[in-house]
């Protein structure tokens, strides 16, 4: 066990996720074999589809974009000692709010419309996070409970809003109108702009966590809130801020997905993006930069899944199976540490 706190990447800490992914793929491979499929060809198809061509890689990055943001959202929470299970709800709030801003505001130039639509997503995602944060800080309600409950509330509420208030006129399907052209996120060199926004967010978050006083407050509260209080950090304010920022980032994830991929809100969209964020955050060891490879890996699996089904005859659900296995293998050691908070190498201590 290394006791030094390193600023850069410490490979030792990254062995758990790497091994977890390898074992998960191995187990999934056995299951494919049992079904009579060829795992080698399946994996080959999966990864050549998603990483083998510019178009494929672009699709992968498109899938990875909301995952980077939802993974980052969960990471920010973990850093301050909060387990935000509510990225899903926050992301949906952001997606719906952004979709509304995207279709209802008309006649704006793109350079105004886009930021406004994104801001809607951040604001509403952040607001949902704020509710959980305030309940935690001022009423002592555990954030895992409130965020799970908020997930249900928001899913039902967004259904209701789309059915009765925001439905596309004359449309039978439960969905909003399409967003204006001026609110669409463009592609840059055939790569989605949203991905660069997400990466910028992750890098910014990393810089803030390592170099600013706010980052230090977050980390201190996450590691020892008694010492934080004693040292003059407002623990309550920090908790609320952390949940709000976490929710805002998840909301941005929903916004980017809406403006860059789906172009409208439909309750069936965005399914699981927030929950995948939990897997990715843990896979990335709650490191703002560590989540990027994790999100790209998962995004690539999602992007290549249907082609894999077509070529190798393996159902797309294999990706969910892989995700579940990875989550299982990664969390077992990490979550225990997070909740016990006894060892020096807690989930938030990996750098």
């Amino acid at each position: 066990m290394s006791d030094t706190k390193k600023k850069g990447f410490d490979l030792g800490n990254w062995m758990i996720p790497i091994i977890a992914v390898a074992i998960a793929m191995f187990i999934a491979g056995i299951m494919m074999k049992l079904q009579g499929a060829d795992p080698i060809s399946a994996y080959k198809t999966l990864f050549t589809t998603s990483f083998g061509s510019v178009a494929g890689f672009s699709a992968t990055l498109g899938k990875a974009t909301p995952l980077v943001l939802s993974g980052l959202a969960v990471t920010i929470g973990l850093r301050a000692g909060l387990f935000n299970i509510g990225a899903q709800g926050q992301l949906i709030s952001g997606a719906l709010a952004t979709a509304w801003a995207g279709y209802a505001l008309t006649g704006l130039p793109a350079f105004i419309h886009l930021p406004i639509a994104l801001a809607f997503g951040i604001f509403f995602g952040g607001f949902v996070g704020y509710i959980a944060g305030a309940l935690k800080a001022y009423r002592g309600v555990h954030e895992v409970i409130t965020t799970i409950m908020l997930n249900s509330i928001i899913m039902a509420l967004s259904d209701y809003l789309v059915v009765y208030h925001f439905r596309e006129p004359g449309q039978l399907l439960t969905r909003t109108s399409e967003i204006q052209k001026s609110a669409r996120l463009p592609f840059i060199f055939s790569l989605p702009l949203g991905f660069f926004i997400a990466i910028a967010c992750a890098v910014l978050a990393w810089w803030i966590m390592t170099n600013t006083t706010s980052g230090f407050r977050f980390e201190t509260v996450g590691r020892n809130k008694f010492a934080a209080w004693y040292a003059g950090i407002s623990v309550k304010r920090t908790l609320v801020m952390a949940m709000m920022i976490s929710g805002g980032i998840a909301g941005l994830g929903g916004a980017v997905e809406t403006l860059g991929v789906t172009y409208r809100f439909e309750p069936a969209f965005n399914a699981g993006l927030g929950f995948d964020g939990i897997t990715i955050a843990l896979l990335g060891r709650a490191h703002p930069l560590g989540i990027i490879p994790g999100a790209i890996l998962i995004g690539g699996m999602r992007a290549g899944a249907s082609n894999m089904q077509f070529v190798a005859g393996v159902a797309t659900e294999l990706v969910d199976l892989l995700m579940a296995l990875i989550l299982f293998l990664v969390t077992a050691p990490l979550v225990t540490r997070f909740f016990k908070n006894t060892t020096s190498k807690s989930v938030t201590g990996g750098w």
């Binding site: 006791d3 706190k5 170099n211 230090f216 590691r223 020892n224 004693y230």
Partner: protein
């Protein structure tokens, strides 16, 4: 009568601490033996060894004549040893009966036999004269009653030897009296009892014999007949290693810290600081002596803004400080070496460098606006590690990698690194090595000589005697006397600590 428990020459060495040093003890049936000692004296190590939870380096433990093997906890329990823990092991939402039968339920086929369970509990409570309502839910019961359930739970397993770990720590005075009566009655019915405590009057009230432990050593056996509370206090706080500190006479200046009419509640919401008045002048060390648990902790926490002040004021240079706001109190000029350095003093998985700026990370030169100046943090750390002789390969190592003494040096260094007006040091040398103790003592004297007002609270009477310029004795939540250290007499202070009118 034969010995229920026979410990001979028990020795246990932990890294850096000799927890038990050649301790021998026998307990006979029907006898109450008190284990008296301060925190860290080796009481819990001894008990763990009895349960086979730790492997002694030397020595032997016999229960009813049979040698205990390390790891055979089940065997110890089967041999009739029961324990009532300081923190109750009860399920709050279940009934008294359910809690007592838990783990060994009378069954009828696949189901719990509730009727016979209930009957067992009633019989048990009659047999030992411990009245309980078998159907009451635990969380509705007062703490004293919960403890009674805990005792019954232990007794149900035909206990011959009952170990009570700090049983009165959470009780009110009335509940304590009742418990002491229960202990006497149990002993009369033939149960051997080991009472672990650091409260003198309980020992006087109930024990047949007393084994005083200090720093892992058995200081000696005595009994309430042979000794009095003052004598016990002296044995407990000890006079073994008197650390001599060279210091010049104090040159007290103006009143720097004033405490006026301070009243504070403890965790049980009982008044534990009952109107304390203190004045500490700049350039002097005022030591607060007292047996632990007499309100010292609450006093310190209230002064430092970490515990609500029910009434009264804390002034720094004549200006009142804010209640329940450690940072505001710190800014007002009170530095604080907290009693619990792991909990309040340090962030274990931060580097030493970050810990050294924990309460000033957002101030110049360690931050410029929003951005931290990491290179300043690091150069500060390197200088402090050097100056305070903190034993570590690098200031970038995690605080958790340090030994207790070096951790404490980090805390002390941080609190002293400013232009110090008032320093409140709570148990500043508890559980650390002699070298670090000496270093920290010298730092406290140096702070005094630079004009700081130092309030030193310690359970170590020797520490108080060797460092203080004046000594305040605290007992039962009150300051019972303030004496000049030149006139301080160990016996006199011991009697005051024991709550006797001198």
């Amino acid at each position: 009568m034969s010995d229920l428990l026979e410990i001979t020459g028990l020795t246990k060495q932990f890294p850096g601490v000799l927890a038990n040093d050649n301790i021998s003890l026998t307990v006979k049936a029907g006898e109450v033996v008190a284990l008296l000692g301060e925190n860290g004296a080796g009481k819990s190590t001894l008990v763990k060894a009895v349960f086979g939870l730790i492997k002694p380096d030397k020595g032997q433990i016999k229960i009813s004549g049979n040698v205990i093997e390390y790891g055979d906890t089940a065997g110890v329990i089967a041999a009739g040893v029961g324990m009532v823990h300081q923190h109750f092991q009860l399920v709050p939402v279940m009934s008294v009966t359910e809690n007592i039968i838990l783990g060994d339920e009378p069954r009828r086929g696949f189901f719990i036999n509730r009727q016979s369970s209930r009957k067992q509990v009633i019989e048990l409570s009659k047999r030992y004269g411990l009245e309980v309502d078998p159907d009451a839910i635990i969380e509705d019961l007062p703490v004293g009653m919960q403890q009674r359930v805990e005792i019954l739970k232990a007794l149900r397993k035909d206990v011959k030897l009952l170990i009570l770990d700090e049983p009165t720590a959470v009780l009110t005075p009335q509940e304590i009296d009742e418990l002491l009566l229960v202990i006497r009655n149990l002993a009369k019915s033939g149960v051997g009892i080991v009472l672990i405590t650091h409260k003198l009057h309980e020992v006087m009230a109930v024990a047949d014999r007393v084994l005083v432990l200090r720093g892992g050593k058995a200081i000696g056996f005595t009994s309430p007949k042979e000794s009095d509370e003052a004598g016990l206090a002296q044995m407990m706080v000890g006079r073994s290693v008197v650390l001599r500190v060279d210091k010049k006479p104090a040159k007290p200046g103006k009143a720097a810290l004033e405490v006026r009419g301070l009243q504070v509640l403890d965790d049980r919401k009982l008044l534990s600081v009952k109107g304390v008045d203190l004045t500490v002048h700049s350039g002097e060390i005022l030591g607060v002596a007292g047996v632990e648990g007499n309100g010292q902790r609450e006093l310190v926490e209230a002064i430092c803004g970490m515990r609500h002040r029910v009434s009264g004021q804390v002034l720094v240079a004549g200006v009142a400080t804010k209640d329940m706001h450690p940072h505001a109190v710190h800014l007002a000029g009170i530095s604080h070496i907290p009693e619990d350095r792991e909990k309040h003093g340090l962030v274990a998985n931060y580097s030493i460098a970050d810990n050294l700026v924990l309460n000033q990370f957002d101030q110049a030169p360690f931050a410029k606006g929003w951005v931290r100046n990491i290179s300043q943090v690091n150069s500060n750390a390197d200088a402090v590690v050097e100056k305070f002789d903190i034993r570590t390969p690098s200031a970038q190592n995690l605080a958790s990698s340090l030994s207790g003494g070096n951790k404490q040096k980090v805390v002390v260094a941080r609190e002293l690194s400013e232009d110090l007006k008032v320093l409140v040091a709570a148990q500043p040398t508890r559980g650390i090595d002699v070298g670090s103790i000496e270093f920290i003592h010298n730092q406290l004297i140096a702070a005094r000589d630079r004009g700081a007002a130092v309030l030193l609270v310690s359970a170590e009477l020797d520490e108080i005697l060797s460092l203080s310029d004046r000594i305040a004795v605290m007992s039962g939540g009150e300051i019972v006397a303030i004496v000049d250290s030149k006139d301080a007499d160990r016996n006199y202070i011991g009697r005051l600590m024991a709550g006797m009118k001198a």
